[in-house]
């Protein structure tokens, strides 16, 4: 077990290094330059631009730029091109904004998908099964931003309350309880919108997993023993059907850093996705690269974790 963990960690570190080198190369290969050195102000002189390039180390060869980036990243002194503010606290602040959205969306996805999926599998071919299939495919094929616009228009015109942003504007003086509930409300619509696609996909997975397991011999055996149907489904079948989902938990991890550009954009949510998107548009290399680096690290950690989890829950698997 331990040798496996150590070897695997080492491999992943090497992989992380390779990913960071490739990402660094790709970001610099993309056409366009940071807005600070490619200004719209025609009066700026080449001398001034040279000065700024130098301050940003943009005049150095790529491998040195990579070294500067790594040095600054690990000493915590990496600064954004845009406003010269430290990058890590900036990412941390945005991460804290995106986190509740992510958590709530995950809760909604996982709590809703299982009952609907299981029910559909048990009543295979029923009206319920067919209508959930229909709804799921509709949700998968209709773009999320379109549904979001409809939801916003509906909430604003019918319910008459704000949905945009992290809180209602101008609530600074209200009681903490009101403010807390207000924050929660502002989470509801965007996280539901983010979750819709997830629910559709995950409930399909649950359904097919369940169907596969229900057809197994041991389920027939359980039924033959005369166990109540609920016990057959929830104890014997569900437990085994759950196995693949354990691995999916590991893959949730990188989602933490990804944020959702489209939903954050539509709901004016000051999250990580927007930070990254704006950084890409203005070629703010330190921010883009750092977010990318953290995302890569989390992805590797996530797959590592799901390997371990799988071994823990499935006695047939042993790690060497």
């Amino acid at each position: 077990m331990w040798p496996y963990i150590l070897r695997n960690l080492l491999q992943r570190l090497v992989l992380l290094f390779i990913v960071s080198v490739i990402a660094h190369g790709v970001v610099h290969l993309a056409p366009g330059e940071p807005t600070e050195v490619d200004p719209s102000n025609p009066r700026m002189k080449p001398e001034d631009i040279v000065k700024i390039r130098k301050a940003f180390h943009l005049d150095e060869p790529l491998h040195l730029q990579y070294a500067y980036w790594m040095r600054d990243l690990f000493s915590g002194e990496l600064k954004s091109f845009k406003d010269s503010q430290p990058v890590l606290p900036k990412i941390w602040d945005r991460f804290l904004n995106s986190l509740p959205l992510f958590i709530l969306a995950t809760i909604i996805i996982w709590t809703l998908s299982f009952p609907t999926g299981i029910h559909a599998a048990v009543r295979r071919g029923s009206v319920y099964d067919r209508s959930t299939t229909f709804i799921a495919y509709t949700l998968i094929s209709v773009p999320g931003f379109f549904l979001s616009y409809l939801a916003i228009l509906w909430v604003v015109s019918v319910l008459g309350v704000p949905v945009i942003g992290m809180r209602t504007f101008g609530m600074e003086d209200a009681l903490p309880l009101f403010r807390g509930m207000d924050r929660l409300w502002h989470l509801v619509v965007p996280s539901l919108m983010t979750a819709l696609g997830g629910i559709a996909v995950l409930s399909r997975y649950v359904r097919s997993q369940m169907l596969e397991v229900i057809g197994q011999d041991y389920v027939r055996t359980a039924r033959a023993k005369g166990l109540p149907e609920d016990q057959v489904i929830y104890r014997h079948a569900l437990r085994n059907a759950l196995l693949p989902f354990v691995t999916m938990f590991g893959f949730l991890l990188p989602g933490l850093i990804g944020g959702s550009v489209i939903f954050e954009q539509i709901f004016a949510w000051p999250g990580l996705g927007r930070l990254g998107y704006d950084a890409i548009l203005s070629r703010d290399f330190p921010v883009i690269l750092t977010i990318n680096f953290i995302a890569a690290a989390l992805t590797l950690a996530g797959t590592f974790m799901s390997d371990l989890l799988y071994a823990a829950v499935d006695p047939r698997i042993r790690l060497h």
Binding site: P31, G32, T35, E36, S40, N41, P42, R43, M44, K45, P46, E47, D48, V50, K51, I52, E77, K79, K82, D83, S84, K90, D93, I107, T111, F114, P115, I118, Y149, I152, V156, G160, V161, P162, I164, G165, M166, T168, F169, G170, L177, F178, M181, D182, L184, W185, L187, V188, D230, Y234, R235, L238, Q265, I266, F267, A268, P270, R274, L275, D278
Partner: protein, 699 residues
């Protein structure tokens, strides 16, 4: 079964918790109508967040939206786009001109030029009226002894690098002539005394030493600029407003103005505005409220730079920055480069403007509060909020529900909003226009008649009507249409496809069997490009292609991502024709856009327009300090460019701003009137007087 119960109840519980939160949220109704403090707040919305709230570093629109409220410049523009005093109460432009005593030169009568004789003869000639029009202008005329000076010169190296070389100047004796007003023709007039070839015998080699000596050849082209025989030094003397205080109570004076200039020129601060202040030779503080700015050369637009916000010296000087570094425990290595960009001031600005900074939540909102101590009287609105709403549609939703006070409507929405009685709308021309630019360097486009024919084939009226929903105006030349520099009397190109074909026939293009125009076996064919992501430009491309097809011109079209478009086509000048737009300012100087010297790679005259007449006008305009004369020159330039048709000038889009009808302009005596935009169309010109009433007024 426990698991089953959990699976059923978990989603129920989650849903109930989420849905109940709805009942705690105040409705729009409560926020906007039932909230008495709401009328004292102005809530703006913006697509993007500000970057950095220091006016000397910021270069983006959102940052300047905020810095113009928090900071104030010496000058700004009045409702007719003329300069108006803000922190400066008055200003005066005078001139000191220098004439080098060239050894070995001789006067018309053959006698040798010496400092003493030159001074005497000039004095006599001016006093006697031999030199026209200078008698009343002359303030002073004197000799200045020779002197030494060391200076750095930057040389453009290969691949855009810049090299700096030190030169030692042995300045010869000079005559200093002080004038009441700037006169760019002074030395031309003095030619009656010194002769037209006075500068020819100037021994630059003796006056200039270059270290290291092997760089001498490289510096040589700049010799005549390093020790100019004729030198103009325009001088602006500003009288500053007294008793103005920064938001922290510290009084504003001439030291802050000089500090702002020094901060911009300090290479550590990486200010994108250095070039605006580069023409300044030095700044002298005469007393705490008088400051004199001496310029290196004639460059009239330089005064516009003083519209930039003045920053407080006491919060940003070396001592203050050192204190901040100590407080924040900045590491020794970072201390080296620590400058204004890194300072917390950039996220916590202090200025003298009508609003003071309160709070900034990144990508969410910026909150300002009115400055009760503002020198012109506190603004009407108590709070100013700048909300960042990156999506246009959600912006509109917030506007319609009353949580944002303004919205700039898109062309297709304007007709609908104009009918809506809840809102007032203001339509104004911006400083921009859209055009089709032809690569004037190519043999195909060399002839202005061909460019004119192509322009005549396009029905611009149709473009304005169907693509911009009539929210644009036809333009005929290079200046923004709402400035005085634009000559309104110049007629646009007529829409005349038949005339266009005739003109092309005259040029030797004849229709071939397939209906395409052909000359010497070659089709009249070219590529029309534009950038991706701009639907209006894309539509213009399609319309132009179709219009040209009708007269037998074959045009292929392509779209490119912006960065690729610039890098592969515009900067190297490798294109036939493009659809693009300019966004300009009230500045009459168009040197970078149209002068033939600016046609190289990476420069803005990328179409390669080259006209000696236009070049001369452009140079005269930037050297002219008299607005009336400047206007005359710009009108001539406009006509020249309209005749040459290097672009097909298309249209200037109109911007429509929507406001709640309850917002009015409140006077100090309590009477109010409808908001009146300035003549140039800026509605925020009188923003400090705006106030929102409880109910919509009737006018």
């Amino acid at each position: 079964m426990k698991l089953k119960t959990i699976l059923i109840f978990a989603p129920l519980v989650v849903s109930v918790i989420l849905v109940q939160s709805y009942f705690w949220v105040p409705s729009y109704e409560v926020q906007t109508v039932g909230n008495p403090t709401r009328v004292e707040k102005f809530i703006n919305s913006s697509i993007g967040d500000a970057k950095i709230l220091n006016p000397i570093i910021a270069a983006d629109g959102a940052s300047s939206d905020i810095t113009t409220l928090v900071f104030e410049g010496l000058l700004d523009l009045d409702e007719n786009l003329n300069l108006r005093g803000r922190l400066a109460t008055e200003w005066q432009v005078t001139e000191k001109a220098y004439l080098v005593v060239v050894p070995g030169a001789s006067f018309a009568d053959g006698s040798a030029v010496t400092a003493i004789t030159l001074e005497q003869r000039l004095r006599q000639a001016i006093a006697s009226g031999l030199v026209p029009g200078l008698k009343d202008q002359l303030l002073d005329l004197r000799r200045i002894a020779a002197e030494e000076r060391v200076q750095d010169v930057s040389l453009p190296g290969e691949k855009g690098e810049v090299q700096t070389v030190r030169v030692r100047l042995h300045l010869p004796a000079r005559i200093q002539i002080s004038l009441k007003e700037v006169d760019q023709d002074l030395f031309k007039k003095l030619a009656t005394v010194i002769g037209p070839k006075y500068a020819d015998s100037a021994p630059y080699g003796r006056w200039i030493e270059v270290e290291p000596a092997n760089m001498r050849e490289a510096v040589k082209p700049q010799f005549s600029q390093l020790v100019p025989v004729f030198e103009h030094n325009p001088i602006i003397e500003f009288k500053l407003r007294q008793g103005v205080r920064f938001h922290d109570g510290h009084e504003f004076d001439a030291g802050d103005v000089k500090f702002t200039y020094d901060a911009i020129m300090n290479p550590k601060n990486l200010s994108p505005r250095t070039s605006d202040f580069e023409p300044i030779k030095r700044i002298e503080i005469s007393d705490p409220y008088t400051i004199k700015v001496v310029y290196k050369r004639l460059f009239s637009p330089a005064i516009n730079a003083w519209m930039m916000g003045i920053i407080p010296e006491h919060l940003l000087n070396d001592a203050a920055l050192k204190k901040e570094m100590d407080r924040r425990n900045i590491s020794a290595e970072l201390r080296e480069t620590f400058a204004m960009r890194e300072s917390e001031f950039s996220r916590n600005p202090v200025g003298v403007g009508p609003y003071q900074f309160v709070e900034w939540q990144s990508d969410e909102m910026i909150h300002l509060q009115r400055n009760e101590d503002y020198w012109e009287g506190a603004p009407q609105y108590k709070d100013y909020y700048y909300r960042i709403i990156p999506d246009k549609l959600t912006q509109e939703v917030e506007f319609r529900s009353g949580a944002v006070d303004r919205y700039s409507a898109r062309p297709h929405q304007i007709a609908r909003y104009k009918k809506d009685t809840r809102y007032q709308s203001f339509s104004s021309l911006g400083f921009g226009y859209t055009y089709i630019g032809y690569n004037n360097r190519l043999p195909l486009f060399k002839d202005p008649r061909l460019r004119k024919a192509l322009g005549m084939a396009i029905d611009v009226k149709e473009i304005i009507k169907y693509i911009l929903y009539d929210e644009a105006e036809r333009v005929t030349g290079p200046y923004p249409k709402n400035t005085q520099w634009y000559d309104q009397s110049i007629p646009p190109l007529p829409y005349d496809p038949a005339g266009a074909i005739k003109l092309l026939n005259e040029l030797g293009w004849k229709k071939n069997a397939d209906g395409w125009l052909e000359k010497d076996g070659k089709l009249l064919e070219f590529n029309l490009l534009t950038n991706n992501g701009n639907p209006i430009r894309k539509a213009v491309v399609t319309i132009a292609q179709n219009a040209w097809k009708k007269i037998g011109v074959k045009c292929n079209t392509q779209l490119f991502e912006w960065a690729v478009f610039l890098q592969d086509f515009i900067n190297p000048g490798k294109f036939d024709a493009v659809v693009l737009g300019w966004s300009l300012s009230q500045d009459p100087d168009l040197f970078q856009l149209w002068h033939s010297s600016e046609a190289g790679p990476q420069k803005l005259n990328f179409v390669g327009y080259n006209s000696p007449q236009a070049d001369e006008l452009i140079v005269r305009i930037r050297k002219e300090y008299n607005v009336d004369k400047q206007r005359e020159l710009t009108h001539r330039l406009h006509r020249q460019i309209a005749n040459d048709q290097p672009y097909t000038f298309l249209f200037a889009p109109r911007v429509t701003e929507l406001l709640d009808k309850k917002i009015v302009m409140m006077e100090k005596d309590g009477s109010y009137s409808k908001i009146k935009p300035s003549k140039s169309g800026r509605i925020y010109y009188s923003f400090n007087k705006w106030k929102k009433l409880e109910h919509a007024p009737e006018f």
